[in-house]
Amino acid sequence: MNDRVTNLVIAGLGGQGVLKAAGIVSDAAFRAGFDVKQSELHGMSQRGGSVSSDIRFGREVFSPMVPAGEADYLVVAAPDQIEVNRSQLRSGGVLIAPDAVDPAKLANKKSFNVALLGVLSRHLGIAEEAWLDAIRAAFPEKLHAANLQAFALGRKGV
């Protein structure tokens, strides 16, 4: 495991499952054996405003917040939140925009956030099993099939 910390920002609007998605990523990284920190702001953001969460993983992580302009990956769930968050991305960093997933192909539209994680998973060195375990742990059993389908859709690529 190299010493470099991987920096991720997941952003969107309140109600899009941004914090849920961030929880899944950090759990998957944790299950894969990394040190992980995930940070977010609650409160007023719950009322439909901008929401974002920082996830950092590696051998050892100190600050829980991704320094501005140092995100390796920026995942955005709402088109109008791309520009708001673009400055988070380092030069050469990867933007995963909402058009990376076709919502029409989802078994359940609410799983859009998890489908974006499928796209993200293609870039990260986290074993598929860790992702799947993290997804199963994040939802009640009746929602497993829809979310695993969404993840597979994103991971496969459209």
């Binding site: 950090s26 040190d35 992980v36 609650h42 409160g43 917040m65």
Partner: protein
């Protein structure tokens, strides 16, 4: 996420505090919801702990203090401004001390992600004379909660556990140290001189408190809660809490003294650290509390520039501080502001107030968003409950034609928290033009994530309990006109009612009642669940 076993897990700081409280045998957790502290009690309850919401933080602390007088371990949780409300019992609880353990969690909000001010509650430790622990991540939140219990029991003193937003709401890895220990057996022992703070008994109690603090300070000089990260001796940094994490990342080669027990400070340890480095810099989020205390002890340290006192610290700001950069910081790209949900009943109320050109003394909750366009129907918002007092003050002095436009707007949970005494004031000192208090009752504490309160008639765990009726309360106080209206069902009726109340020159309370649409379904479920035992009992009998 709750966890009961002692394997490593990824927990928020709030979850880590509740897990430690559970493991340490805390018998009672009480508090009032407030970002970023709310999840501590919710998770403590989920783990199996006895947790309850109090009407406000003062009552919460008093309940916890009573439990600690009885020999139990108790925890009271609140956000930073909540400690202002609880400050009265706090200062004298420092004198009385406790028999069991009393942990007071103050969750500060540097950067004001969800608060009306950025007050730095480290001042409370010095002002009240209480030990304060400051965790930097979830592991420390867990460990320090245990330590707080131990310090509280050893010195019979309440302990402040100061969290901040980024510690409360960051998830980091925690390895629990112990399984659940059963709570101590409470018992009452009479100690009149120790517990009844008349002046004759309080004078020696104050001396006892200062004696305890000097013992804790001596212990703190060598205790493992403060540690030195050996590094390059050209730069030494003294810091605490989350700032430590930013420091380690921005200055990986510096020597660092990380303080965990920040009141009373280990001044000799600090003196020795500062003497061993060429430059010694203090990094702290918020006010220069450490800097001032260290300088007052005659230790020469550098401080961060004043501009970094405002808002949260982070790695980028640390790099600027270390490079001496005081140029203006880039403004963050503004995101989409929060707003009242589509269909929210508050919308109809603020549309009415906007239309009537009311002067609105507002309060703390989702409905504070009524200040934003398109409503722009709020003129003041200060603290929990202030809407009523401020509204009355405006009424007393404004010329009558303006006074008659003043309305106090307060939410249901906020009303229970500190609006009731405002209503009493209205009855006792009625303004010449009368007044109107509008209670926006959406049957939950919506802003912090839908917690119960005494007006919902359900406990923290959503079980049925005693219910405070706002209309009965208002009528019992002798308020002439008490109305209940559903703003969503008939906005025109509500508007007319407000108009009438503003015109009648009397004392009026309108309860605008409509359950929050995000929770309406759940409330029906709770009510259904509450009625199940009766149905089962009936079917067993038949």
């Amino acid at each position: 996420m709750s966890t009961k076993n002692s394997v490593r897990s990824l927990l928020s700081g709030d979850e880590a505090v509740s897990l430690a409280a559970w493991h340490a045998g805390v018998a009672l957790g009480t508090g009032y919801p407030g970002t970023p502290s709310t999840e501590i009690l919710e998770n403590f309850s989920a783990l199996g702990g006895h947790a309850q919401w109090a009407p406000n933080e003062k009552v919460a602390l008093e309940v916890a203090l009573g439990a600690a007088f009885a020999g139990a371990r108790a925890i009271a949780t609140m956000k930073h401004v909540g400690l202002n409300v609880a400050a009265d019992p706090l200062f004298t609880a420092a004198y009385t001390g406790v028999t069991g353990a009393l942990i007071v969690v103050s969750a500060d909000d540097p950067g004001m992600a969800s608060s009306q001010n950025e007050q730095d509650n480290r001042h409370y430790a010095a002002a009240a004379g209480l030990p304060m622990l400051e965790p930097a991540d979830s592991q420390e939140a867990y460990d320090f909660t245990f330590q707080a219990v131990e310090i509280s029991e050893r010195w019979k003193i309440p302990v402040l556990l100061r969290m901040t937003t980024r510690v409360c709401h960051s998830r980091t890895i925690v390895r629990p140290r112990a399984a659940h220990v059963p709570p101590r057996s409470p018992h009452f022992e009479r100690d009149v001189r120790g517990r009844v703070m008349i002046p004759a008994y309080a004078r020696p109690a104050y001396r006892r408190l200062r004696q305890k603090l000097s013992e804790i300070q001596a212990w703190n000089e060598t205790c493992p809660l403060n540690r030195v990260v050996e590094g390059d001796r050209s730069l030494g940094i003294i810091t605490s809490g989350i700032s430590y994490m930013h420091v380690r990342e921005a200055a990986p080669r510096a020597s660092v003294l990380k303080l965990g027990l920040t009141h009373p400070l280990p001044l000799e340890k600090i003196r020795a650290f500062a003497a061993g480095v060429n430059r010694c810099l203090v990094i702290e989020e918020g006010d220069p509390v450490l800097t001032d205390a260290i300088r007052a002890a005659g230790v020469k340290v550098e401080s961060q520039p004043e501009m970094y006192r405002f808002g949260e610290l982070n790695v980028a700001r640390l790099r600027r501080i270390l490079s001496g950069d005081t140029s203006p910081e880039p403004a963050p790209v503004p995101g989409k502001p929060p707003q009242l949900c589509p269909g929210c009943s508050h919308r109809y109320v603020f549309e009415a107030l906007h239309k009537l050109d009311s002067i609105v003394a507002g309060d703390i909750g989702c409905y504070t968003l009524g200040v934003l366009p398109p409503f722009e129907a709020m003129d003041t918002c200060v603290c929990m409950g202030a809407s009523i007092g401020v509204g009355l003050g405006l009424r007393h002095v404004l010329p009558p034609e303006q006074a008659r436009r003043v309305v106090s707007v307060i939410g249901d949970s906020t009303f229970v928290h500190s609006g009731i005494t405002g209503l009493v004031e209205m009855v006792y000192n009625p303004p010449p033009t009368g007044h109107l208090v509008l209670i926006l009752d959406n049957s939950t504490t919506a802003m912090t994530g839908h917690q119960e309160h005494p007006g919902t008639g359900r406990t923290l765990e959503h079980e049925p309990t005693g219910k405070v009726s706002f209309e009965d309360l208002a009528r019992s106080l002798g308020i002439q006109n008490v109305h209940v209206a559903d703003p969503t069902a008939n906005p025109a009726v509500l508007t007319r009612l407000v108009q009438e109340c503003l015109a009648n020159g009397q004392l009026n309370v309108i309860i605008a009642r409509r359950p929050c649409l995000l929770i309406a379904g759940k409330i029906k479920e709770y009510d259904r669940a509450a009625s199940v035992p009766c149905a089962e009992a009936l079917s067993e009998e038949s």
